[in-house]
Symmetry: C2
Subunit: 331 residues, 2 copies
């Protein structure tokens, strides 16, 4: 398959993208198109350009660019050029470390949504006690309708299935209580639709999930509006980082605590690894007609290579086709 890599939008410049592209060709047998400042990229490639195409783009989208203006005002940015290549069929999937809002807006306008999908959304894999849960929407749509949430449920179901190789992932609705009467009208209506679909064998909906149960891995897929999803995801991440920093401080207090750290070193590494978002990879944009992965802004070569492998699974697993098929049956 052919992967398009936005080489310029990450915090660390083009170096991680170049290295990850070389690995992707060598280890995964991909063809890679690197998009960005051509001279700079070619210099870094230095004779390792087998399987790699470089497409020039003179501008870079940054975190301060307003998502809605990027397409018009930064037409020659690596992100917009990459999206246009994807839309034109010059590649099968795209990975970018850039501005999330700009990537989502750009993908929606240039690559377009899957037919029948009302809104594209951003999904995040959260590390939990049971492995991982996919949370969606985690920020793209602050306000949602029952139809959006229902579609997110199917989109998450098919993505999780492929990404994790789970036959019938469990889908839960994030809510402020377990009973079906909980939440606002949005949750009550979505609950009713998903319950009926589950009864008809269409989706493995297990009901409402409370915040307290997320960390234990209460469901494979967690559905919620983008406003709440963003707050839940970032709260989750923030508490994890805070507790890890507190543990570090605890172990650094003196010689005895430093000895203790040595004694539990492997366990500590394990725990840190389990809470580390870099290990989890990028966030898929779901509902777009071609696979797009938003990698972390600060991705190094390893994180970016992980995101590329994710894009491969997203593409070769036929997630877009599965979503389209399930929603055509719905709409």
């Amino acid at each position: 398959m052919k992967l398009i890599l936005d080489a310029m939008s990450g915090d660390l410049g083009s170096a991680p993208a170049v290295e990850a592209a070389v690995r992707a060709v060598q280890e995964l047998g991909l063809e890679v198109t690197l998009v960005g400042r051509e001279a700079e990229i070619r210099e870094k490639l230095t004779g390792r350009n087998a399987g790699i195409t470089v497409v020039n783009a003179s501008e870079v989208v940054d975190m301060h660019d307003a998502p809605t203006t990027v397409i018009r005002q930064k037409k020659d940015s690596s992100m917009v050029v990459a999206l246009n290549l994807l839309a034109a069929g010059e590649g099968d999937a795209l990975v970018s470390c850039g501005n999330t809002g700009a990537l989502l807006t750009g993908a929606t306008l240039l690559v377009k949504r899957i037919k029948g999908v009302r809104r594209a959304c951003l999904a995040a894999m959260m590390p939990t006690g049971a492995g991982h849960s996919l949370l969606l929407d985690c920020g793209a749509n602050a306000e949602c309708t029952t139809e959006y949430l229902t579609q997110f449920a199917y989109m998450g179901y098919h993505y999780y299935r492929t990404e994790k190789g789970v036959d019938r992932p469990t889908v839960g609705l994030l809510n402020n209580g377990a009973e079906e009467s909980k939440g606002t009208d949005l949750q009550k209506e979505t609950y009713a639709v998903l319950k009926a679909d589950a009864d008809a064998g269409k989706i493995n909906f297990i009901g409402n999930v409370e915040g307290r149960d997320i960390a234990q891995g209460a469901a494979n897929v967690l559905v919620v509006d983008g406003f709440t999803g963003n707050l839940v995801l970032k709260t989750y991440e923030g508490v994890g980082l805070y507790l890890v920093s507190q543990m570090k401080a605890m172990f650094k207090k003196g010689p005895f605590t430093m000895l203790a750290a040595l004694l539990v070193k492997s366990g500590l590494m394990d725990l840190k690894k389990r809470m580390d978002y870099k290990e989890v990879g990028g966030a898929p944009l779901l509902g777009i007609s071609k696979p797009v992965i938003k990698a972390h802004g600060g991705s190094d070569e390893i994180a970016l290579f992980g995101a590329i492998r994710q894009a491969v699974r997203y593409t070769e697993g036929g997630v877009v086709e599965a979503i389209a098929a399930s929603l055509r049956a719905e709409v």
Copy 2:
């Protein structure tokens, strides 16, 4: 002051309430009215009834009672009798471990809201890296208006001020981004109102707070709708409990890790204490015309005594009066 204690609604029965009441008389010089099954309570008091009045109530509200029916269907429950005593001026404040929704509905209908307050809400003290943050609403009002959220901001401001002895607590609006353009119309409008109030010197509003910054203690008071607030609070609590359980498992692996646990024992206790909700006490109902504290359902004597001390500060600190004064200036 005179404290009313619902002695029956907790998971552990009347024993913790009786013991906490005896301590409250002895150590805090309170008069306490215990409400519940009189014979049972008197037996447990056995000669320690100085300063304590017992009022009989034959029923108990449980977690399965629908909040809206409790007042009509369980008129002789300890919770409803206690609320009626508070409404009648037979006490200055009330502490109950019972069903949150029933307590909130009962307090609103029987004790009434402060004049001008649109909705009462439930606030929770969350342990953070900087001490504590008060989150409100954390579950009472799934759907909110700008006016509700603005009032919550003032209610939280005055409560935090008294509870923590902070002169001008910082108030933040939980949002899916830091910029003032973030969120739905509800957040944008609330931001504008609170910003104008801050410019007029009425409240120490510091702007939007993201989920990631909660654990570091980004603001003393965090304002959000009850749906999102419930999910954020429980997610926060869930991740903390999960990580503590993972750490325990890590230290129990073998003789070396158990030695390590001994070496960092005090640090571990510290960390656990900081994440422990029992240490934090009960959740105040705010916007009600008299102080009501909802203690944890599983409260033991120590937790309940902590909630009583909280009720004392809520009462003697004049929080209700301060909220009333600030909202009259607003309305």
